[in-house]
């Protein structure tokens, strides 16, 4: 970019040209800007994935509907699942981790700022590569465009014999490339938390948010690697005549399932532990009490992390494992319920005896608690292997994991958005619009996902583009589809509120919630260096100590 003067700093660069601003965003290594990039990128894909879901739900609104062809429907559920997990949920939790872990531990940036930028851009490239399949997936065969193998892409459907063209390759490479970024960010988060804490902040005085991001990053390192390995093997199968998963040449379809789910199950915790992190910061501040049982919360998080590597084959109860393997994975899965239950009880105990303020972040957290409880209880049902033989791969499972991902993770994320929006933008969101968002989305969520359990219990398998009338599924599918439009309206209000408020909202000040962690001690939005002087802390709630010198933690 040609420019007349060299910009030496933001203060004396009053009217920067658009090119300069873009250049700044593309070349930035600032953890806050990268965090925002992750978040904006994820919101874009959230809207795209939501449109894909809406297309599926319109197709299923009545039996024997012809809104889209089976091919298109299959592409929609593949792209919806892949997008929501890899290009919405992961980047958005990385975005919040990137933005707030350094601020909360009193650091000036992540440990490896340039690795941070590389990780974001390579992940973003992965998403674009996946979506390029709509254009380039045909290959020379003229067969298919977007991948249609399902988000867990079971072998041998991905073999050349069943998946012509390049659509599966775009899926494989898109995830492989974004996996490199995930591993980079995870390494970075671990190094940051372990090495850059400010003076006085021992591991035991770190905010739970930082603890949970540390555990999440450890899970990413261990979980994404097997997926990356499996993607490499699949590519070797497809192009170099290897036979890892090619059943027609003696390969094993079950091997892929093991590789995928040893990634896939910890992945659920990669996404939900950051949601725990948001809730663990928001509930105390809005209840005006410290988190109940900090040490056991840390212990529960770490043990969820360990247990999450012992449960993968509960996704495979119908694959024909012997009775001992099925029993093992049943009990290991049930055991996850223990630390998860501890967390739910501790959050309620944090509210107990407090003076709860019902700001929008807290509303989302209370809904999170209710919905995550239900998601956990349906998870217990699915851990009972014989029950899973009926429920697995039915709409009950679809309802269950959407209860986790939407009812749990997304509600936690919405809470986090409203809680930290004043810090990130320096401005307050519009409160009335945020309430509209909350209630519309809550109603839509329950219409869709409560009623989605029922066709599953009544025998409706997932991933079918149409169904027979007279099985008792019709009315439930209709209600489920109606709920989608409420959710869509909520999302539009949410995005509109963020855009409008970041430009026109009232100034929020440094500490609008009267909160206790270090990010609220600096300006909103924080300056590039975060803290003019690095803070020193004596307890888990440094700002409480400052505000209440007579009763420090």
């Amino acid at each position: 970019m040609a420019s007349e003067s060299i910009a030496i700093g933001r203060l004396d660069a009053p009217a920067r040209q658009i090119g300069e601003i873009l250049h700044d965003w593309v070349t930035t290594v600032d953890h806050k800007k990268l965090g925002l990039l992750y978040i904006m990128y994820a919101i874009l894909f959230l809207v795209i994935g939501g449109i894909e879901a809406t297309i599926m739900r319109i197709q299923l609104i009545v039996p024997h509907n012809n809104f889209v062809s089976p091919q298109v429907f299959n592409e929609m559920f593949t792209m919806h699942g892949t997008t929501m997990i890899f290009f919405v949920a992961m980047p958005i939790v990385f975005g919040f981790g990137n933005y707030f872990v350094p601020l909360m531990i009193g650091a000036r940036d992540m440990a490896f700022p340039r690795l941070n930028a590389f990780s974001f851009w390579i992940s973003a490239f992965g998403g674009l590569l996946l979506y390029f399949s709509f254009v380039g997936g045909n290959g020379l065969y003229g067969a298919g465009n977007a991948p249609d193998v399902g988000w867990f892409a079971y072998a041998p459907l991905t073999a050349k014999a069943f998946s012509l063209g390049h659509s599966t390759d775009f899926w494989t490479l898109g995830l492989l490339v974004s996996g490199i970024g995930s591993i980079g960010t995870a390494t970075n988060l671990i190094a940051t938390v372990l090495c850059l804490r400010c003076p006085g902040m021992t591991l035991g005085k770190m905010p739970l948010f930082a603890w949970m991001n540390l555990v999440m990053a450890g899970l990413v390192l261990l979980a994404v690697s097997p997926l990356t390995a499996a993607q490499v093997m699949l590519s070797l199968d497809r192009y170099l005549g290897a036979h890892f998963f090619d059943t027609q040449a003696g390969g094993s379809a079950v091997l892929w399932m093991h590789f995928f789910w040893i990634f896939g199950h910890p992945e659920v915790y990669v996404l939900v532990i950051p949601a725990f992190a948001f809730v663990s910061e928001i509930i105390p501040v809005f209840s005006r009490k410290p988190i109940f049982g900090y040490p056991i919360m840390v212990g529960a998080t770490v043990s969820i992390g360990f247990l999450s590597f012992l449960v993968w084959a509960h996704h495979m109860f119908t694959v024909g494992m012997n009775s001992y393997a099925n029993s093992f994975f049943a009990i290991s899965t049930m055991l996850v319920g223990v630390p998860t239950g501890i967390k739910i009880f501790n959050w309620i105990a944090t509210m107990w005896g407090g003076k709860i303020r019902f700001g929008t972040p807290m509303l989302f957290c209370i809904a999170f608690l209710l919905q995550f409880l239900i998601a956990g209880l349906t998870g217990i049902m699915l851990s009972v292997a014989p029950f899973d033989w009926q429920l697995g791969n039915s709409y009950f499972v679809v309802a269950h994991f959407h209860y986790v991902i939407v009812g749990g993770i997304l509600f936690g994320l919405f809470g986090a958005f409203y809680y930290w929006f004043p810090k990130m933008s320096g401005r307050m969101y519009n409160d009335a619009l945020s309430k509209w968002h909350f209630w519309l989305f809550l109603i839509g969520f329950h219409l869709t996902f409560d009623f989605m359990h029922i066709p599953g219990l009544l025998g409706m398998p997932r991933r079918i583009y149409t169904y027979e009338p007279g099985r008792g599924w019709d009315v439930w599918n209709l209600i489920v589809t109606i709920g989608v439009f409420f959710q869509g309206a909520g999302i539009l209000i949410f995005v509109g509120n963020l855009l409008w408020s970041s430009l026109k909202g009232k100034f929020a000040g440094n500490d609008p919630w009267d909160a206790w962690t270090l990010e609220w001690s600096t300006a909103s939005p924080p300056p590039e260096y975060n803290f003019a002087t690095l803070p020193t802390v004596n307890s888990r709630r440094p700002l409480w100590d400052i505000k209440h010198p007579e009763d420090p933690d």
Binding site: T318, G320, V338, I348, K355, I374, M381, W389, N393
Partner: protein, 333 residues
Amino acid sequence: MLASLLLSASVGVGAQTNTPLPHMFDPRSTPADGIYRISRFVLSITGIIFVVVVFLLAYATVKFRQRAGDEDEPPQVYGSNQVELAWTVLPVLVVLILFLATARVIHSIQRTAKPAGAIEVVAIGHQFWWEFRYPALGVVTANELHVPVSDPSHPTPTFITLLSADTDHSFWVPQLAGKTDLIPNHPNSTWIDPHEVGLYLGQCAQYCGTQHAKMLLRVDVEPREAFDRWVQDEKKPAQVTDAVSAGRRVFETTACVNCHTITGTVADGRFGPDLTHLMSRATIASGAATNTHANLRSWIKNPDDLKPGSLMPAMQLSDKDIDALTAYLETLR
């Protein structure tokens, strides 16, 4: 939980209007019954947990809300070892109970030995239909499994070996048993012992490709004599009638024979369903349509009209040939 309440309501409505829906809460076979029993147990335990925790959450939300004008900070409580220990130990006990109940059902279903009088079936999943072979009885059929009813005092269960010719599939008839996958290179098995005569519906429960949705499954449970009669009929070679020789010629001179078998003729393909006794089946295209003259003709003319993405090609036959071919197939009883 709301869902399970609604479910019990919907099941109740189903029972009252006397139109039974083919779901897992109306089991008609020992494995499905075992699952039904443990599902009731699990639903009641999770139901109790739900009620207790929701009560605590609702109580905390209402009771401890900030009152207007009250800006003081509440007492700062950091935790309680006793309370935390209690809500660690109690869930562990619940898990232990659930696990013991679960392991019992897993073992009782998976480790049942095959008795002497059992019927043996090999089920092979194809994109997008079911092949059923009875090796001991010399019968091959498709999409509609026939089994004898099993009298609990004199059980004649059916043991099914599950194979796949191409991608993963899953065999699921909720009223008879939980689902088990059909995976290439990975033989599985399942068993059923239906206690009541009737038609049981199911469908493929593992995504297997474009037409996964229309890979439907029917199990005809018949009295023993009717089943034996069916076996005798199925074992006969195809009927030969001169009246339809034109249609037979069309069949045998096009690519039909590469994929379909009609016993007693040159047709011995195995990619598609065995058609020797096509008219003994109530449906075509793996349950996508009833086996009527109009549907059969439309299916032959262009399979994609009924089931877009099915692997059977439209053979581009003239209307005259299609009529003749349909007439021929309709003699295959």
